[in-house]
Symmetry: C2
DNA sequence: GGTTTTTAAGAATAATATTTTGTTTGTTTA
DNA sequence: TAAACAAACAAAATATTATTCTTAAAAACC
């Protein structure tokens, strides 16, 4: 994609973020073009990497994942390859769905899904606290999430 | 959905989380059914709320959102309707894409996308710190994100 | 002002989604 | 055990949508 994105491209991105399964026909009507150039634009956005992927959003609670938490983790940097060791361990833990390397008091912020408190305790006892390079960690239980939006470009 | 989900349903959820735009034909081949019952299962999962929605995932950096942060916020509960006041204000801020009510030191954890440090300063100065019920806040800049996966049911 | 490039529309074709119908499978009940 | 019922599935027909191709219009460039 040589030039920059225009207003129509942003509108496509916005609509596809909101509804990733909208048909090309509907999409074309929403943006005021015919299906052919609409599809061409979507393909270009995909090819150029503006659209990375498409995903279904599932209801975690209905699937028995009643507990969502963020865990802040401080590492012990007295050992070698501290960060890589940590990342290797964390990647093994399927309950961890996000892992962010952050600035501030903590070194990493993890997002975790488990079914209940017992499962959370097991996660902490058997997995998190067993990672050798973890110095301290602190749990933030998510009581409710009041906003969770797709990222919409700010312009336009 | 009267009964519980079976192995095939979980497989559908997994596949749709990974690729929200997979065609019903491909999906049916992956799970080993014909298109008709496959579609029927997907519709049931949607109707029953197991699948909440579909979304395109965009590349924030390509769209000029170079800075991602988490902000921990402590509220001042000496006023009335502290939480509702906070939520009303936060909902106005388009840079805030997630807002979690959490336990621990902080009361809320926000996820924020902005274009650069200048924009971040403006956000802090003009918006976050102007919310009357905010007592303290602490920024975690995301340096990198090494894991970001859809939630896959743990069973099977 | 003419030329090139880009973008879009329309029409034809291909692929897929969706519906309908009938069959199988499994379960319940007498 | 057999009969009746319900649920799930497959196959085929139809409807809808995606995709490609060709042509026209618009914009950018020289």
């Amino acid at each position: 994609m040589a030039a920059e994105l225009d207003k129509i491209d942003f509108k496509i991105l916005k609509l596809l973020q909101e509804n990733g399964r909208i048909t090309n026909l509907l999409l074309s009507q929403e943006i005021g073009l015919s299906p052919a150039p609409t599809l061409e634009r979507v393909r270009k956005l995909e090819m150029a990497g503006y659209i990375k992927s498409y995903h279904a959003l599932v209801d975690e609670e209905k699937l028995g994942l009643g507990i969502k938490t963020f865990i802040q983790i401080q590492l012990d940097f007295h050992k070698n390859n501290t960060i890589q060791t940590f990342l290797d361990e964390v990647n093994q833990i399927k309950e961890v769905t996000e892992c962010h390397h952050v600035t501030g008091q903590a070194d990493f912020l993890l997002k975790v899904y488990v079914s209940d408190i017992k499962a959370y305790e097991r996660l902490i006892m058997d997995k998190i606290s067993k990672i050798s390079v973890v110095k301290t960690f602190q749990t933030m239980m998510i009581m409710s999430t009041t906003k969770k939006e797709p990222i919409v470009p700010l312009e336009y």
